[in-house]
């Protein structure tokens, strides 16, 4: 992909580190989007460099902020612990010494509520990029970038052309798709769409969810502007 001026002049983010703070926040966002509901309990297992320096880089607060749908440029990331308490979200951080096959900056996030449980493994691979390598112990490889794009995560069945109506709607709304990546699992697939020009409003997200074959659509930001 061609370098944009705003790859140099940006991203606008909350410090101190792009890989350890902003990247961590993005992994949290993706985990929350995949969870499809409001979690009441979250556990973070930190591996490698995340385990060693997470406090200095505020990786812990950024992860938690991401799970609460905050953006990488939200100055409230600092207050993530307080906000979690207010929202009655219980959290725990566990550092793991041994990290056999993972990239140095890796976290396993386990989200729970009364109905569901979800486990997501993600790594921040530097330069604003993150990858999701496991969902519920199924190995995948999903790459996301923060800063330049807003991402849409779409869960759908494996039928051919199931996404075409989604593209149609986005074209109708004048929202260009910059890139897409699909991960196929046994019965279902997961597609990440990077879009530019603002993000979808909640009614639009709900409209996409009603399309046949689409299980869920998540916008990896706050769903609505405050």
């Amino acid at each position: 992909m061609q370098n944009s001026i705003f790859d140099v002049a940006g991203p606008i983010m909350v410090g101190p580190s792009s890989s350890h703070t902003a990247g961590a926040c993005k992994i949290g966002q993706i985990a929350r989007a995949l969870f499809r509901g409001t979690p009441t309990e979250v556990t973070f297992y930190l591996y490698g460099s995340f385990a060693q320096v997470y406090q200095g880089h505020a990786t812990d607060r950024a992860l938690l902020a991401g799970v609460m749908k905050m953006m990488t440029s939200d100055s409230n990331i600092k207050e993530a612990f307080k906000i979690a308490k207010k929202n009655k979200l219980a959290y725990e951080f566990i550092t793991v010494e041994e990290a056999p096959d993972h990239h140095p900056n890796t976290v396993r996030i386990i989200l729970k509520n009364a109905k569901r449980k979800l486990s997501v493994v993600g790594s921040s691979i530097g330069g604003g990029k993150v990858t999701i390598t496991q969902i519920n112990n199924i190995n995948i490889d999903l790459e996301a970038v923060f800063g330049r794009f807003f991402s849409l995560l779409v869960g759908h069945n494996n039928e051919e052309d199931v996404l075409n109506p989604v593209y149609g709607k986005l074209i109708d709304w004048g929202i260009p798709i910059t890139s897409k990546q699909t991960i196929s699992m046994k019965k279902n697939s997961l597609t990440m769409l990077n879009i530019e020009e603002g993000y979808l409003r909640l009614p639009q997200v709900l409209e996409l969810e009603k399309l046949p074959g689409i299980q869920f659509v998540r916008s990896l930001t706050k769903l609505l502007k405050e």
């Binding site: 606008i12 060693q52 320096v53």
Partner: protein, 319 residues
């Protein structure tokens, strides 16, 4: 149409179109993103405003970062500019240092900043540009153009095989490129020709080659924060030299090649791993212990300051 793979091509475009680097940058972005000029400019305005907010918060704040290594220096330096009689530097330079400190201190205390080009090297560009902007009572449009010009240089460096990652090329690629971009941007703001802008960047980057990335405990605090402040002077100096007609013998593209060449010789201990340089000094290790970080493996600590290899010259100079 408005694509360029290095600084030479960028200058050629400027000559063909008879325009400044910033205008090429705007057209480049319009072309690759398909957005209107107004949209591209609006996005840069957001960048500019975020920088200014960080500076304004930073020069007033006195609270420290989490481990107390940095914080409060921006205010000291900014307050110092009120009485320039006590200082040697120019008001532009000292204020630029205050602004750079403010930006990086905000980054360390988890404030909102623009990673321009990265979080670690984010202070030089806003420091130099905003201080000069105030000094020249420049227009807002010129400020925006300076940011575009600086970004265009960044693109040219990336396209020419450079990197912004200190993990790959040390601090020369973060604060170093930040300084080169600031030099180019400020030269355009002062009315320099595109050649003078690129030349200023070459003069700046040339003098930052080989800079190690050796932060204490791997945090973006020591020496990063003060390093951003000190190097604003290099950017301002390079711009002055360039406008006075001093020409870099090595052209900018080749300076970038030299940077990548040097990075290949750099030990990994001085590439953002916190295993060498300042990070393993006595004080550095002491602070690391205080932070509760795991100790550094013994093999990295035995690199004592050895005697310099015996001199082969048979002069009487050093005996």
């Amino acid at each position: 149409m408005f694509q360029f793979k290095n600084c030479e091509e960028l200058l050629k475009l400027c000559a063909e179109q008879k325009t400044d680097i910033s205008q090429i940058a705007i057209k480049y972005e319009m072309e690759i993103s398909g957005k209107s000029r107004a949209k591209v400019r609006d996005k840069m305005k957001q960048v500019r405003d975020t920088m200014w907010e960080a500076i304004q918060t930073g020069i007033k704040a006195t609270d420290k970062s989490q481990y107390g290594l940095v914080g409060g220096d921006a205010k000291k330096v900014y307050d110092g500019t009120k009485n320039m009689a006590n200082l040697l530097g120019s008001k532009v330079g000292v204020r630029a240092m205050a602004y750079a400190l403010a930006t990086n201190e905000q980054n360390a205390r988890m404030g909102k900043i623009v990673a321009f080009p990265t979080a670690g090297g984010s202070g030089v560009v806003p420091g130099v540009l905003f201080s000069t902007f105030e000094h020249m009572k420049s227009s807002k449009r010129k400020m925006l153009n300076a940011l575009f010009a600086a970004s265009a240089l960044g693109i040219a460096i990336l396209e020419h095989g450079g990197t912004f990652s200190a993990a790959k090329a040390g601090c020369q690629a973060e604060v170093g490129i930040g300084t080169a971009m600031a030099a180019a941007g400020v030269t355009e703001m002062r009315g320099g020709t595109p050649e003078q802008c690129i030349n200023a960047a070459a003069l700046a980057l040339k003098n930052m080659l080989g800079l190690a990335c050796d932060p204490l405990g791997g945090l973006v605090e020591v020496p990063c924060v003060k390093r951003n402040a000190i190097y604003v002077n290099v950017a301002l100096g390079a711009s002055d030299l360039s406008l006075l007609g001093v020409v870099s013998v090595i052209p900018m593209d080749q300076v970038v090649e030299a940077m990548m060449n040097i990075s290949a010789h750099m030990s990994e201990t001085i590439r953002e791993t916190a295993l060498g340089g300042l990070a393993v000094t006595k004080k550095g290790l002491e602070l690391r212990k205080k932070m509760g970080l795991p100790p550094i493996p013994e093999k990295y600590l035995n690199r004592k300051i050895g005697a310099a290899p015996a001199c082969r010259n048979k002069c009487n100079g050093c005996g």
